[in-house]
């Protein structure tokens, strides 16, 4: 591990809690604490806390902000209410996805949360397209921390710890608590398929706030447990949520990547033309969910076969701890994409039978 890795404000807390640390997108991050499967199950049943401070957090201000963001993002942001968040893509002119982001409208500004691996790229893209506009872009990543508290017990625990009942906060909405010039922003959202809260707050508050969440070494919180990037991946695959570098990349457009829901083809955004043409002509490739027979795991780039011919490639796969099945997401040719289609996935030189299934693989009980 090199000494040039960036550390989040929670780094030392992770180490003290026994985390196994790894390099991720230039940051030193916890991949696991008690174990991936244990953390995964705890998230589905109780409450886990993930450090996501490595993700980019940008502040956009200026008179042109809304028009500008509506041109940069695939999602329709026009007239967005204060207090609302939107999942969106930011694309190249050819429709290739630059990143998937969360865009939020606050009273005084707009916020963009982007992937850690794409932060430099997105900041450069935003500046490039801000030329000549009344716009200011500030990177608040290193001044802030962000934690994702996920699991069915999260809202109860939040009420115990803060006295505030957030159950009336709608999904993909957020509240803001002002502390002088600083803010704590709490979003009802997440990347696990469970109910939960994601909280952005000033980095210096970490030593004060984290012990309230985790307890102390002598008296750890009875329910809240830390979880790492390993469990974050198994959880999001079960929930069929895309990951940049796997389902999303510059080589694929938002429609093929299965995220048409966040694309408004009726508005003019960078990348809309190729997507309109694709939709008109019919998508030649689609992102599908696969359920494999047996317990072997399909990895990214594993070949997918239909009727003996190569029809696609796996983007992500795992042995689902919750479902007890080997599941994967893959790009396949459109004629192999219908539910129930029998395919094969090549794993370690063997072709394992698989079938196309509806996504998400897992849906939380309501």
């Amino acid at each position: 591990m090199t000494s040039t890795l960036m550390k989040t404000p929670l780094h030392d807390i992770h180490v003290a809690m026994g985390a196994r640390m790894v390099e991720f997108a230039g940051w030193e991050m916890p991949v696991q604490f008690a174990g991936i499967v244990e953390e995964h199950n705890h998230t589905r049943n109780a409450c886990s806390v993930f450090d996501v401070s490595h993700m980019g957090r940008l502040r956009i201000t200026g008179a042109d902000a809304e028009t500008y963001l509506n041109r940069i993002c695939t999602r329709n942001l026009a007239g967005a209410e204060v207090g609302r968040s939107f999942y969106s893509h930011i694309c190249r002119h050819d429709g290739g996805i630059l990143d998937d982001v969360i865009v939020s409208r606050l009273t005084t500004h707009w916020g963009i949360i982007c992937n850690a691996s794409n932060r430099d790229k997105i900041v450069a893209w935003l500046h490039k397209h801000a030329q000549g506009r009344d716009l200011q872009i500030v990177d608040e990543t290193t001044a802030t921390a962000m934690v994702a508290c996920q699991g069915p017990k999260t809202l109860d625990i939040a009420k115990e710890l803060t006295g505030t009942d957030l159950t009336t906060l709608k999904r993909y909405h957020f509240t803001v608590r002002d502390l002088g010039p600083l803010q704590i922003v709490t979003y009802r959202s997440g990347y696990t398929g469970e109910d939960g809260l994601e909280v952005v707050f000033p980095g210096p508050l970490v030593p004060f706030l984290m012990p309230k969440l985790f307890g102390t070494k002598e008296q750890p919180h009875p329910v809240v447990k830390p979880a790492g990037l390993g469990a974050r991946d198994t959880l999001r695959i079960e929930a069929s949520m895309p990951l940049y570098g796997h389902e999303l990349s510059e080589e694929v457009d938002s429609l093929t990547a299965g995220q048409a829901w966040c694309v408004d083809l009726n508005k003019d955004f960078i990348g809309v033309e190729p997507m309109r043409r694709l939709k008109e002509g019919g998508l030649p490739r689609k992102l599908v969910g696969l359920e494999l027979g047996g317990r072997r795991i399909a990895r990214q780039h594993s070949a997918v076969y239909g009727g003996g011919s190569a029809v696609g490639e796996v983007t992500s796969g795992t042995l689902s701890p919750t479902l007890g099945k080997s599941i994967a997401m893959a790009f396949v040719s459109a004629d192999s994409a219908s539910d129930g289609t029998a395919l094969e996935v090549e794993v370690s030189g063997k072709r394992i039978p698989a079938k196309v299934v509806r996504m998400p693989f897992y849906k939380r009980p309501r």
Binding site: Q32, V37, G230, G294, R296, I297, T318
Partner: protein, 128 residues
């Protein structure tokens, strides 16, 4: 980190325990910990003939798939069938209950070229 002194170790983290002409092998606790939750172990058929350096099996976890190599030649006389339904035994007890393959070795000579427990302990300390 437990590294039993009664066996020999390969740089690829397999361990080999000699008892008369039978060599029992598995992967080290260090390797099992690195893989994290093991979900599947691919073992050879009993009766398979192997040569020194052959790919003899695979270990899969949510994190990665790892290949297992034999350091001795001979024929496979037994495999740990408990690992079919309970691959997690490798994580729980890599050196005992997590044993993987027993080989009737043509000769134990190749084991001399492997590391002792002490040497392996130093090896993994330097790797981490």
């Amino acid at each position: 980190m437990k590294v039993p002194p009664d066996r020999r170790y390969a740089e690829t983290h397999e361990w080999f325990l000699l008892d008369d002409t039978i060599v029992t092998m598995g992967i080290s606790q260090y390797a099992a910990d690195e893989l994290t939750d093991i979900t599947y172990v691919e073992l050879p058929e009993v009766g398979t003939r192997v040569t020194v350096g052959d790919l003899i099996g695979e270990v899969e976890s949510v994190k990665a798939t790892s290949e297992i190599f034999t350091a001795v030649g001979g024929s496979v006389v037994a495999v740990n069938t408990a690992l079919v339904d309970h691959p997690e035994l490798v994580n729980d007890d890599a050196f005992e209950e997590g044993w993987m393959i027993k080989i009737k070795a043509d000769t134990p000579d190749p084991l001399h070229a492997l590391m002792s427990g002490k040497e392996y302990a130093t090896f993994i300390r330097n790797t981490a």
